[in-house]
Structures are given as C-alpha cells and as structure tokens.
C-alpha cells in the first residue's frame, strides 16, 4: 500500500485523540495553580503537595494497594489450580458446567456479583460469626471471585499450548506429579502467572462497584474516594492523583515491554546461531 488513504489516517487520528486528549488535559490541569479545574491559573505543583498531605487519600491508596496485592496473589493461586484442572484432567463428568461456572463472572454484571457476595457475607456472619463486619477481608474475597476467572483463562490457554510430553518426560525420569508441577510446569508457565497476577492486580485496583458493596466504614478504596469526592465537585487534587496513577501504569507497561523485547531478541539471536551451526555440520 504505497498511497495511504487520507480517510483511514483521519479515522486513526480521531480515534487516538478520543483516547488520549482527555488524559492529556487531565495531566495538564493537574499542574494548574487555580482552584477551578477548568480555568488555567498558571503552572504550579501545589496540588501534588496537597495530595501528599491528604490522609484520607493516602490511606485509601494504601488500602487499595494491599487489597489488590492480596487478591491478586490469592486469585493467581486459585486460578492456576482451576486452569490446571481444565487443561489437564481431560474429560471428566461435569467439565462443561465447571468451566462455565468459572468463567461466568466475566459476563456477570458487577452490580449482581457485588450484591450477591454481600448477601453471602451477611448470611455467613449470622450463621458462623465470620466475617465480622465488612472491611478489607471481604473486599479481597469479593475481588478474588471475579479476578480468578481471568487467571484461569490465561493459565488454561498457556497450558494448552504447552507440550504435555514435557511433563510426562519428568515423570518418566522419576519425579512424582507434585514435584513435576513445581519443578517443570510452574517455571514454564511463570510468565503467564505473572501476567495473570498483574491483570488481577489492575482489575482489583480499578474496581468500584464490587468494592462499594463489600466495603465497611473503615475500608475505603481509592476508586471509592475518587468517586465520592468527584460527586462533590472535581478538585485539581484528583487530577494530580490521576496523573500519578497514569504515569505509574505507563511506566510499568514500558518496563515490561522493554524486558520482553530484550528476551525475545536474545532468543531469536540464539536460534539464529544454532541454525548457523547446524548448517556447518
């Protein structure tokens, strides 16, 4: 295609603008000196200063990060087990039901997930006295239930690509199944585990609806704080917070991309070298 269609180019430009101009505006206005969000009052970093004085926001950020880390870890463990069952146990009775039930949270409206989990917690508390009230534990559990589905799918598809005879070879050489899993399967699917963990972490950090249902008075997450404060009017402080979040996310993505590119290039070089040697033989 030597001549690029101007129509396609403008479509693409429009699309990108739609995605990134709001973010850009938000970032620019986070350096606005004025208290009014939409009026430019000169450059300043005072909102960043105020952000780091705000105990409520800092506390919520800490809560969110702890919940995200815990639920990501838990759902990676549980999701890996589910993925393993789906990918390796062949056809067993009720497999379709099992896999359907695992992936159902992907399409279930969040409001319903949140509400039903809340009802479960209330019922449980009345029956066995646990969980006592609602807080970080309940949010974590609720997040695990829906992030686990994503991890399961990632792990299942990775295991599907993996040559099963690698595991059989390990067993043939004398390793028991549990050892095979930890010495062979786990290291091979480690990248999938990492991406599953990161995805769960992000999903949990993002979640507002389910957290609102399952949170207690002492456990406000960052999205909840942002949402409630925006209802009272957007302050430049929120812009500053958002800018920090976006920058952190972008930083992580770039680092991950660089690491992956480097690994890929090294691999290609190694393969090329091996091929060259083979030809000399």
């Amino acid at each position: 295609m030597s001549k690029r269609s101007p129509f396609l180019i403008s479509c693409m430009a429009f699309g990108f603008a739609f995605l990134y101009v709001p973010l850009l505006l938000l970032m620019i206005y986070s350096f606005n000196d004025s208290k009014l969000v939409t009026v430019w009052g000169g450059f300043s970093t005072r909102w960043y200063g105020e952000l780091f004085q705000d105990d409520q926001i800092l506390g919520a950020a800490r809560t969110s990060l702890v919940i995200a880390a815990m639920s990501a870890t838990l759902s990676t463990i549980l999701g890996t087990i589910c993925g393993l069952v789906l990918a390796r146990f062949g056809r067993f009775r009720g497999r379709t039901l099992f896999s359907g039930m695992i992936t159902a949270p992907l399409v279930m409206p969040e409001v319903i997930t949140g509400l039903s989990i809340l009802l479960l917690f209330v019922a449980l508390e009345q029956l066995i006295g646990w969980p006592e009230g609602r807080g970080m534990t309940t949010i974590t559990i609720a997040h695990v239930t829906f992030t686990m589905a994503y991890v399961t799918i990632i792990i299942q598809s990775r295991l599907g690509q993996m040559d099963e005879s690698i595991e059989e070879a390990a067993m043939d050489l004398g390793a028991r199944p549990l050892k095979v899993f930890f010495l062979i399967t786990l290291p091979i699917i480690a990248p999938a585990l990492l991406s599953g963990w990161l995805l769960s972490f992000t999903l949990s950090l993002d979640d507002l609806v389910i957290a609102s249902f399952t949170a207690g008075p002492s456990s406000t997450t960052l999205p909840m704080v942002v949402f409630s404060s925006v209802r009272l009017g957007v302050t430049p402080k929120i812009n500053a917070l958002a800018t920090l979040l976006v920058s952190a996310a972008a930083f992580c993505i770039v680092i991950a991309a660089i690491i992956m590119r480097r690994a890929e290039r090294e691999r290609e070089r190694a393969i090329a070298k091996a091929m060259a040697e083979q030809e000399q033989m």
């Binding site: 059989e168 390990a170 043939d172």
Partner: protein, 388 residues
C-alpha cells in the same frame, strides 16, 4: 549388523522356538501378555502378546495410527491396558506409575525441559534418584561425552540444532541406565542425511551400553537397518515378529510382504497342493506359478504369491523351461537408482511387474531398453505364498 547383534538374533530365535542350551539363553526383559487398549469403542491396541529379550534392539513398525505409540506408552506407564498384563524384568508392572518403572522413554518431540540447560536436563533423572551431586556431575559429563555434546552443556534447548536436541533427549533418557529404553520415532524429526548417520550412531550406543531398546518407527528401511527383531503392526494387532531378514524373505501375510520392502503380489487360485510343492494359477500370468514348498491352503481357494523384484530374472531370450514361472512382456519404464535399476515390465495381461537389476558394470548402454520384448522368470524357491 554387528557380530554381537547377529549372535543375539540366533539366541533369540532359539529361545523363541523353545529349545536352547541354558547357558546362552537370552533373558526376557519385557513380556506383554494379551494386552488390549480401548479408547471408548475404538481398539487402539488389540490383544498383543510379545516377548522382548535383554540387549535387543527391537522395532515396532507400522503405519501411522496403528497403535505403536499407545503400546509404547503402556510400557512406559502413561497408559493403562484395558486388559492384559505387562511384565518388566519378571515383575508385573501393569499398574505401576511411570515414575516407579525401571524404563525410560525418549519422546518423539524430545520433550526437553526448556527452562533448564543441557546439563540440568541430563541431571534431572539422576537427582530424582537422590544421587550425590559429585556423582551426578560425573555421570552427566560421561553421558554428554558419548554424544559429543560436552561443549554445549551450558546451553538451553532452544539454542541447539535439531540433531543436537535429539542427542540430548537420548542421553537424558539413558542417564539413569534404565533396563529398557523406549524410543518413539527417535529419528522422525531429522532430515534424511542426518537420519542415516544417526541410525548407526544409535545402534553403536545401544550395543556399547548394552541397554535394551524398543524403537517405534514407521520407516521400514530404518527398522531393517537398526533392529535385531521387528514387529509389524496393523490396526492394533501384531502381524509378524521376526528378524529383518526373515521378515523380508518369509513374510507371513500379504500386508507384511507389501509393507516390508517392495514386492510383486499375484493373486491366483491354488490348483495343486502337495506337501513339497504347490501350483497357483494366476490369470495375470501366462504360465502357472510353481512354488517349491508346501503351504497350508485350501485347494481351489484364493492364494497370494509374493515375488521380490530382485528375485525376478529379465532376459530377451526364452528361459529353458517355459512351462511355468515365467511370462512375457514389454519394458515400459526403467528407473535408474544408481546401484540398481528398476525395470517396469508390462505383461501381455496388462499387469506391470517390477524387476530390480544390479548395475554391476558401467556399460554405456543397458542391454535391455525401453520397448524391448522380454521374458521374466523366477526360481520356484523364491516365491512366498502368503495369506491375505
């Protein structure tokens, strides 16, 4: 074939017949007794019984999907027989898991551990046995030395060529000194030239270590070059177990004759059935086929006579006895193969017969050429009567 393998073949042949001198009786290492494996309604392995002897290089030969891999996986313990028993070294192993069997397997895909170096791959099995690390190191070095890969011990599998990977897979499976090594299409992924060289290498390693090899292959030439004995499988059943020589010269079924080397197969009616000879009347040939050995067939029934292309004589002159075992035709095509040439002779009935002739002399012009009218003939002892 080495002298060692030849002697073993003789011993095995004697043991199979039942009469042998006790001192040089080969020990049976694998006994497969009436093993059947079903997948749902599909029978992948059908009532197979086999004995494999210590030190043999035994091949399972058959087309794709005939159940070779399934049989091998039952020996390794990855599949359980639906019925029947498997004895390894005298012990019933039918329900023993793979990690407790004294056999190792080399996988068709090699199945190297991608996250480990070559050395770690080879050491893996030894470490599972709790071998002290100094000894592991020594054994790994020894094994890599056998396949001349000592310099590449620190590489990962993806940094190796296909041939190198194949050798790593081989020594990884051999490192534990298993009683039996199971190899699933060990040379299937190599190109032709490398494959021929590796065949001999594999036999050398097998003989020098004295490990019993069970090799699965679909390549008839490969089985013929490497094996002490071959079992031919078709649709889950074993049709014949024999040395490559016996398999080629005395196939017992039409399938074996056609699968193991090329053959001219004639269908006819058994018109005379005596103890020392039979006569088969074949409509495609102008004269009857006279076979100088008896067969257990029904007079008047259908019989198949197999004649190998190199056992057919080709001549422009009429043979001495034109009453039987000959026919006339026209040379339709000549395929030059270097060491020999294959002549395709079209008989008067329209049937095309393959005749192989050695190119022993470097003549400018072959004596017999295209469109020559020729006689084909064969000795009565060179015909094998096979069942369908």
């Amino acid at each position: 074939m080495s002298q060692f393998a030849r002697n073993l073949q003789d011993q095995v042949a004697r043991a199979e017949k039942g009469g042998s001198i006790p001192t040089d009786t080969p020990r049976s290492i694998i006994q497969i007794q009436n093993v059947t494996r079903k997948f749902g309604d599909f029978v992948a392995v059908n009532d197979v019984s086999l004995t494999i002897y210590e030190g043999e290089l035994f091949s399972l030969l058959g087309g794709s999907g005939c159940g070779k891999t399934t049989l091998l996986r039952m020996l390794a313990g990855f599949e359980t027989p639906s019925s029947g028993r498997i004895l390894i070294d005298g012990q019933d192993m039918t329900h023993i898991p793979p990690f407790e069997r004294p056999v190792n397997m080399m996988f068709q895909s090699y199945a190297l551990f991608p996250h480990m170096t070559v050395e770690q791959n080879v050491a893996f099995g030894l470490k599972q046995d709790g071998m002290p690390s100094a000894e592991v190191k020594k054994r790994v070095a020894e094994m890599l030395d056998i396949v001349e890969l000592s310099a590449l011990g620190k590489r990962k599998p993806h940094q190796l060529s296909g041939g190198q990977r194949q050798r790593v897979a081989l020594v990884r499976a051999l490192a534990k000194r298993p009683k039996v090594l199971l190899l699933d299409e060990p040379l299937g992924a190599l190109d032709k030239k490398l494959r021929e060289r590796t065949q001999l290498e594999l036999v050398n390693i097998q003989e020098s270590l004295g490990v019993t090899f069970v090799v699965v292959t679909h390549d008839q030439e490969e089985a013929m070059t490497m094996s002490c004995r071959v079992a031919i499988m078709n649709q889950g059943r074993i049709l014949q177990v024999d040395t490559p020589h016996a398999m080629y010269e005395y196939p017992n079924t039409r399938f074996v004759a056609e699968f193991f080397g090329s053959v001219n197969m004639f269908e006819g009616i058994l018109v005379e059935d005596e103890a020392d000879h039979v006569v088969i009347d074949c409509p495609e040939l102008s004269r009857p086929i006279y076979v100088s050995h008896g067969v257990s067939g029904r007079e008047g029934g259908t019989a198949y006579a197999a004649i190998r292309p190199e056992k057919v004589a080709l001549s422009k002159e009429e043979p001495a006895d034109t009453s039987r075992n000959c026919s006339t035709g026209v040379v339709q095509d000549i395929v030059y193969l270097g060491g020999e040439s294959t002549y395709l002779v079209k008989l008067d009935s329209g049937r095309v017969v393959r005749v192989s002739l050695q190119n022993a002399y470097r003549a400018a012009e072959p004596e017999i050429t295209w469109d020559d009218r020729v006689w084909i003939s064969w000795q009565p002892s060179n015909v094998v009567v096979v069942s369908s």
